[in-house]
Subunit: 119 residues, 2 copies
DNA sequence: TTGATATGTCCATATTATTGGAAATATAGA
DNA sequence: TCTATATTTCCAATAATATGGACATATCAA
């Protein structure tokens, strides 16, 4: 993962509404949630949420797909896994520190059930 | 780890100079580096760095200790480990996702040699 | 006590982020 | 087509953050 993308992810997750939205979407994997329902559940105006979702999307932490009139947002678990790997490999590896090899971080977030094909 | 502290950590790491400073300190574990040397190595004014180090310190990502005229900064590996755990447990755990249990993340950043007593 | 060194604090400026009203765009159904 | 619904974009006000010059504080050595 590039440093720029890691920083974009950190910036995205450093804002309360965005962190709440992301966690909400993680809890609603793999179906996702329409933007309007996220706004309702978090009790914030739809246009404010839209701005926050676009920040999350730019950081690639969420994916979206239009479904009829709604736009369904989903957490990008691969991306958050990459952020975790970045922290382990780029921020956590000191001369005097043993880290588990890169491969073993891959086991962190493995979907149990197949993701739907339509995203 | 509290959500507030996790967000403070994300905010701290989302700024290029601060991320560079933190990574530099990780690479210089466990001796740490004086503030002035960090400023020199990153080529930024000492007062600008001082402001950034105080953000990292407020997020508890770095620890400091005065040593004569210098103030030695060190990366707080326990804190970055806690951030990783936060991501795994709070952001990565969806209904359909298996994560390795909390304990196994502890093995990530284990110092090989004893830390010096004076911090 | 004086001078040099190391770092932090104060402050003003510049930049970026957040917020939400109003209008625009996209879709669906009658 | 017209209307309702879902979401985004535009825009302007406000708030937060970043930057670095000037000054303050802390330490040491002579």
């Amino acid at each position: 993962m590039k440093t720029e993308q890691a920083m974009a992810s950190f910036a995205a997750l450093s804002q309360p509404t965005r962190l709440a939205a992301f966690k909400l979407l993680v809890r609603h994997e793999p179906e996702g949630l329409p933007a309007g329902e996220i706004a309702t559940l978090l009790d914030i105006p739809h246009n404010t949420l839209s701005a926050h979702l676009s920040v999350l999307a730019r950081a690639e932490l969420v994916l979206s797909q239009r479904q009829s009139r709604s736009i369904i947002y989903r957490a990008n678990l691969d991306a958050i896994q990459a952020v975790i790997q970045f922290l382990v490999n780029d921020c956590c590896v000191a001369d005097s520190v043993t880290c588990t090899p890169l491969e073993s971080t891959r086991s962190f977030c493995q979907p149990q059930q197949k993701k739907p094909e339509n995203l």
